[in-house]
């Protein structure tokens, strides 16, 4: 059964980004969330390379190779933007000045353990980037990932099997079928796609979960392609 696509997952995460916050979006699906912020929310997107107030991607004729984000995209700046050096950028990240980071993930455990940096690709060199710093330093860590691997294995687990990015840090997970919080009691499902039953969710999840008191359907409006 089809779950949400990448844009729809990013849209859902964007709805939870509060007005007036400073947010770091990881490369891949998370960075798409900046296109789906609800109108009227004034948010600063911080990028690890020191750009605070990243705006939309630059048009081709405006692209400036000195003005990039951490994913090497040429970007624009919003009003009030600042650019700082890497030590200040990571003081912001590690010192608890980022309200939320939204990161791509491979696996999340019910105690909040997080694996998103080493999928054990044979022969490819390791790449950690700023993931460990964000996972430890941001005030809230949200993960976005498909609920299952291509082979169908669950990514929400009792214990991560892949190398950890950080221990006990993830608070919320947006998957292609559900929104799941991580609490002291483990996974709490807040929202679930209407055409997925709780039994089906259980079969596709690698750890026990409970349903939130305000458990409701996961609804995403039609989005522009």
């Amino acid at each position: 059964m089809p779950g949400l696509n990448r844009n729809e997952m990013a849209w859902r995460a964007a709805q939870d980004i509060a007005d007036g916050t400073v947010v770091n979006l990881g490369i891949g699906i998370p960075v798409l969330a900046s296109d789906h912020l609800p109108a009227g929310r004034d948010v600063f997107f911080q990028s690890e390379n020191g750009v605070i107030g990243v705006g939309p991607a630059a048009a081709l004729d405006e692209a400036d190779s000195d003005l990039v984000d951490a994913g090497s995209r040429t970007v624009t700046l919003r009003s009030g933007a600042t650019i700082v050096d890497s030590t200040a950028s990571f003081a912001m990240i590690r010192g608890g000045h980022i309200d939320v980071t939204v990161l791509g993930a491979f696996e999340v455990a019910s105690n909040g353990d997080f694996a998103n940096w080493d999928s054990r690709i044979p022969d490819k060199g390791p790449l950690v980037g700023g993931a460990m710093d964000l996972a430890v330093g941001a005030r809230a860590v949200w993960a976005i990932m498909e609920h299952n691997t291509r082979a169908g294995a669950p990514r929400l687990l009792e214990r991560c099997a892949l190398p950890l990015t950080a221990v006990r840090c993830v608070r919320r997970v947006f998957t292609d079928i559900a929104v799941v919080d991580i609490t002291a009691a483990g996974f709490v499902v807040r929202e679930l796609l209407a055409d997925v039953s709780v039994d089906q969710l259980r079969a596709r999840t690698g750890a026990p979960f409970s349903l939130a008191p305000d458990f409701k359907p996961l609804l995403v409006p039609p989005l522009p392609a």
Partner: protein, 223 residues
């Protein structure tokens, strides 16, 4: 004699660089790569280098030329993965066990360099605690938080790119060029900046982003 840190060429800026040097290379995401200086270091030919660079093989940086030229013994970076589907030169050498790699979380990377330039020999951070990147490192619980001991990195040469330098070596950066430049300059015995342009008159003090105290040589290389 009047201070003047401007040198005539990138080649001249590499004078005195020795085999075995620890070399910082600034730049991130396409901004601030000192590609003219990197190529000058390749032509200079110093070997057995340790490169301290955010990404071992970014497609817009020329560090791969130093690696392909057999000048690099070890890379310390937060990213060691090429974008291409196949193996980069660096990844091939890594696979063959012909180059050393130390993978460091980017914030710890920046902070270790900052510490190296600020006289701080080591520091504790919670970042990487409980992960493979903390294996073998000292740990300690501070205020209830599990932390890892990380050591400063200092070195011999820093290569950075800025927009404008005056003769005192004071620098102004353009947009996101700044990234690791200031920290790396402080941590290196010889800090060299390539800039779009140099000027005789001093940069206004409040506009200077990196004091010339941290810079030894500047080279004008154009846009």
């Amino acid at each position: 004699m009047a201070i003047d840190k401007r040198v005539a060429s990138a080649q001249a800026a590499m004078e005195g660089v020795r085999d075995g040097a620890v070399v910082f290379v600034s730049g991130f995401g396409g901004a601030g790569f000192a590609n003219v200086l990197i190529r000058a270091l390749r032509d200079h030919g110093a070997k057995e280098l340790t490169l301290v660079v955010n990404s071992a093989t970014h497609r817009l940086s020329l560090t791969h030329e130093l690696i392909a030229n057999g000048q690099v013994r070890k890379v310390i970076a937060s990213a060691g993965r090429g974008r291409e589907p196949g193996l980069s030169v660096f990844e091939q050498l890594l696979k063959d066990g012909k180059i050393e790699f130390e993978c460091v979380p980017q914030g710890t990377f920046a902070e270790r360099i900052r510490a190296g330039g600020a006289g701080i020999p080591a520091f504790y951070t919670p970042v990487a605690y409980g992960t493979d990147l903390a294996k073998g490192k000292e740990t300690r619980t501070i205020n209830g938080r599990d932390c890892v001991l990380e050591h400063a990195i200092s070195g011999d040469l820093a290569l950075l790119r800025a927009d404008i330098a005056d003769r005192f070596g004071n620098l102004v950066f353009r947009h996101a060029q700044v990234n690791f430049g200031p920290a790396m300059a402080t941590a290196a015995r010889l800090a060299v900046a390539e800039v779009r342009a140099t000027q005789d008159e001093p940069i206004a003090p409040e506009r200077v982003q990196l004091s010339g105290v941290f810079i030894d040589r500047v080279v004008a290389v154009g846009a």
